[in-house]
């Protein structure tokens, strides 16, 4: 696979290193001259100097034959533009953008830049997952594929507690995939009884979170 990586910071160069160790071809683009010079010592021909938001530089990097573009610079506006150019001008099969500031997530979504990766949001999900009582947590978002996996907890007093799966009617577009009970995963069947404290993993179409949350609260 040939991957163009925009941005040679910690994320970009670690990504490049791993991809190369798995026999992928990589071209990293770095716009800071001093950082570029340091990178050449390790990456040699697999790094080039330039602003990855300039179409000319993307062409020099070989974007036309890229299988994947990863826009992982420290600037959200740059990552958005790089992915838009990759998708709409060069028709790259897959482009992935890093979201630096989670507050900009909606901008990526509105402008159709997907999938995105945000370290802050991932950390937040992991921390929420560990909290004793937590609301719905997103574990995986695949917007383009119209799919997401969430985790919801059955609270004490939830109308779903002590009900069998076959007794509840799930909203359309929602499927239960697993029950985490006492740190073990159960594959649910119709006869499986839900208990307070269970954490439910569900697969659903994006936008159905509210229906699911309501169902857990009101039955």
């Amino acid at each position: 696979m040939f991957v163009v990586i925009a941005g040679g910071g910690k994320v970009g160069r670690t990504l490049a290193r791993i991809l190369m160790s798995r026999d992928n071809e990589v071209m990293m683009i770095e716009q800071d001259r001093r950082r570029y010079q340091r990178l050449t010592q390790e990456f040699e021909e697999a790094v080039m100097y330039g602003d990855a938001t300039e179409i000319f530089n993307l062409e020099r990097a070989g974007i036309e034959r890229a299988d994947v573009v990863a826009a992982v610079t420290g600037d959200d506006e740059d990552n958005i533009i790089i992915c838009q150019v990759a998708n709409h001008k060069f028709e790259v099969a897959k482009s992935i953008a890093r979201v630096n500031n989670p507050e900009n997530q909606e901008a990526f979504d509105v402008l159709g830049v997907t999938p995105t990766v945000s370290a802050t949001n991932s950390l937040l999900s992991l921390i929420e997952h560990e909290m004793p009582a937590h609301r719905l947590v997103h574990l995986l978002n695949l917007k383009k594929e119209n799919l997401e996996i969430v985790e919801v907890m059955i609270e004490e007093g939830s109308p779903l507690a002590a009900k069998r799966i076959e007794e509840i009617s799930l909203p359309a577009g929602v499927l239960l995939i697993s029950i985490l009970r006492d740190s073990k995963a159960l594959i649910p069947q119709g006869s499986t009884e839900l208990l307070a404290g269970d954490q439910i993993l569900a697969i659903l179409e994006p936008g159905r979170e509210d229906e699911l949350t309501l169902m857990f609260l009101n039955g």
């Binding site: 000319f56 506006e77 958005i80 533009i81 709409h88 001008k89 909606e106 402008l111």
Partner: protein
């Protein structure tokens, strides 16, 4: 007319002052609070401290009510993202943005439907015309 301008440098501030003088309502967004100085003490419009790609900042100036939106910061990518948000997220009909890089300006104009103004391309044309019309003295 209500106009939102992102970027209060030489261009954004002069545009804001000109529009206000013509009787339009204007709001200006800039990431540098001192940029307000360019507008003068009597500026009757609104000034909001914020970044153009921040949807919350655009909400604060009620971009959804804007008749026109101008992105004129010194960053091409900031301008392109802000302009697209104004169009797609806030539904502003008239969106104009400055983009220095002629290639990005052309791509976003032709393929992404954003009205870009490229000072670099304009300067090249002006210089070329000036050269072509030079009277060469032997």
């Amino acid at each position: 007319m209500y106009v939102v301008i992102v970027g209060c440098g030489r261009v954004g501030s002069a545009l804001a002052l000109g529009l206000v003088e013509e009787g339009h309502k204007v709001a200006v967004v800039d990431e540098d609070e001192d940029a307000l100085l360019r507008l003068g003490e009597d500026f009757p419009g609104e000034f909001v401290h914020g970044v153009g790609i921040d949807i919350k900042a655009l909400q604060r100036v009620h971009t959804e009510n804007a008749d026109a939106f101008v992105a004129a910061t010194d960053g091409d990518n900031t301008n392109l993202v802000a302009a697209q948000l104004a169009k797609e997220r806030f539904g502003v009909r008239c969106v104009v943005t400055r983009v220095y890089d002629p290639h990005r300006a052309r791509f976003f104009k032709e393929q992404m439907g954003i009205r870009t103004i490229c000072p670099t391309a304009d300067t090249i044309n002006l210089l070329a015309t000036a050269v072509r019309t030079c009277e060469v003295n032997p």
